[in-house]
Symmetry: C4
């Protein structure tokens, strides 16, 4: 009875070529990044000053650039991981789809943030989505390690380095939710800048023997 | 007189490399999935409570996730099929375009469902489109088998397993249309959860010798 | 003085691998086809009958399917051509971009047709854009032949067959403009059905010795 | 301590295959070009003349074609560069993302230009974005040269030719900003036509020994 299923699994359940998965993921990353611009609407000006209106769109430009950069960094992290992942399983494909579901969702919290940047709920939703994206990326890495999908060139130190530095973004986003709730939403958005020093610090910690 | 036409067909009508077809299909799947987010609109709040408004968008989030997951599962089924389809014919390309026409259409019934989830006509349209997508996938599989396009490693048992389990989704969607008509639209949407036990059952039936 | 320019041209002006051009074209075709669905808007119903409103969207569904199918047929024609085009020149890339500029434009005349299907100007714009797309496809084929970019397996008979049958669509679209002007816009849209018998006829003519 | 980091860098920081970067860039270029059409809205006509309304959309068509062509030319320049770039570094990937961030932004200034073509701020924003895109392209070229990423077949003369001609667009766009400010916005848009003679002139200058 399990004969057909096991033959099916041998044929379909896993494979060595991650090319189509990587390609598909790239497409979703690229489309999500490019759709972000649709949230920046041409202002309606009658008799007013267009130049001033364009400057007033600063929150829109910032939200666009922020989400574009964060998705780009996630793409780079994904790119690096799949450079050393030498095969796939159904579970890896599922985890990857959870990641893509969240990445494709980013235009919504981005639009929300650009319109309601001083509301706690916008900041919390944005930080939650982007933080969970980081967690899923790291889960994929841990899963790939345990499932024996990583290239032999990835030693234990490098594995831990990637795993540790991958948790910096989720930690800062989690902290920013607390800041948004207890200090203020705008302070919450500024706290995202902690990603820069925290990344440098994590780099030091996880390269220590 | 048929000479030119037969030389044309030999050159253009079929081929061994399914790469460009697979690539093109992937692009359509990826774009359809990523466009789903455009239906979730930033709420207009003046003086109200943004947090509450964001919670009220639950039907939008659910419809987004539901369609994303169903398209993702269809992509996986497509991916698996083309892993063992070793060539193409004009008819296979046509069937594939019927599939893509329906996949690219999914954002419309999804938007409809998120706005009118308790109306029978939304539920019926959604179930029809997604059900027919499953039927077309299975038709492609049957066609590929009869046209001799499948890899020799696909034996009769595995072929029937894929054909049989591919009909679970269409059957549940057909049933949900009856439920929506005779019991109620919301009950129709809940009946989609039957896909999970029905898949497990089909797995048992089609792995029996 | 022409030394640098000729070295530049030797390096950059042409090449054997059409892969990236084909890939890029596929992406534009796929995105244009998938964006078509954005023109079908969820109806606003208050107290009315949603089922009836959904049936009233028939022109939208038809325009969606029509444009999807015509772009798909153009993709297939493009796919076939690049299957036997063995290299590229800057001029071929330019012609291809003219094609893509028109393909990416199709969502606009499609939306226009679905909203103003009984107006001569919609029908004329639609027929013009789709007809010129066919002309550019055939120009690319003629150019590739004259520039010696076709595979040796394409003999004169097959070359003429592709060139001749590629002019059926433009001819029917040109005729439909006359029909829209002198008989009526709706008759103009029906005349597009002539593509089917005209294709069969052309197939006979161009396979005659 | 730097051991893990250096092993990490050896594994992840650079590589020989630019395929996934090129692919990802192509997707962003293609999506940005195809999204441009969404800015051309079907006119609302009640009792009026649709044909006339369609002619009144001339600025929209022109802005669409202009941006499509400029992005296409940038894609060709990108295509050529990556044809002779034989590897990548993290810095090259970053520069490429700055380019893509700007390319994906183009639909916004395009929409602005088509609606407010006679306002200085539209013309300035458009010229700035497109001019900086040219500068980033040339920076990538200079960087690739200095980082030793160029194929050996690119000699010093060809390198300088590409670098020099790549600065024509930024120079004309910079000039057009001055024209828009001191002569007038419409004159500014006309000054973009200088790209054609300036390109021919640059071709002469940089092919001189």
């Amino acid at each position: 009875m399990t004969d057909i299923r096991s033959r099916y699994r041998a044929l379909f359940g896993s494979g060595e070529s991650t090319e189509r998965i990587v390609f598909f993921s790239d497409a979703v990353f690229a489309i999500a990044m490019t759709l972000l611009v649709l949230d920046i609407k041409v202002p309606e000006v009658d008799g007013g000053n267009l130049g001033r209106e364009l400057l007033d769109l600063a929150p829109e430009y910032l939200a666009y650039a922020l989400s574009f950069i964060i998705i780009a960094l996630n793409w780079m992290a994904h790119h690096r991981k799949f450079g050393v992942i030498t095969g796939y399983t159904t579970n890896l494909v599922r985890l990857n789809f959870v990641l893509l579901l969240l990445v494709a969702f980013v235009p919504f919290p981005t639009a929300l943030l650009s319109e309601y940047g001083s509301e706690a709920s916008s900041v919390i939703l944005y930080a939650s989505v982007l933080g969970v994206i980081g967690l899923v990326q790291t889960s994929m890495w841990i899963y790939a390690h345990h499932a024996g999908l990583l290239d032999a060139s990835v030693d234990e130190g490098v594995y831990r380095y990637v795993r540790g530095t991958g948790l910096v973004n989720p930690a800062v986003f989690a902290l920013s939710i607390l800041v948004a709730l207890f200090i203020g939403p705008v302070a919450g958005t500024y706290s995202w800048l902690l990603i820069i020093p925290a990344s440098l610090l994590a780099d030091r910690i996880f390269t220590r023997k």
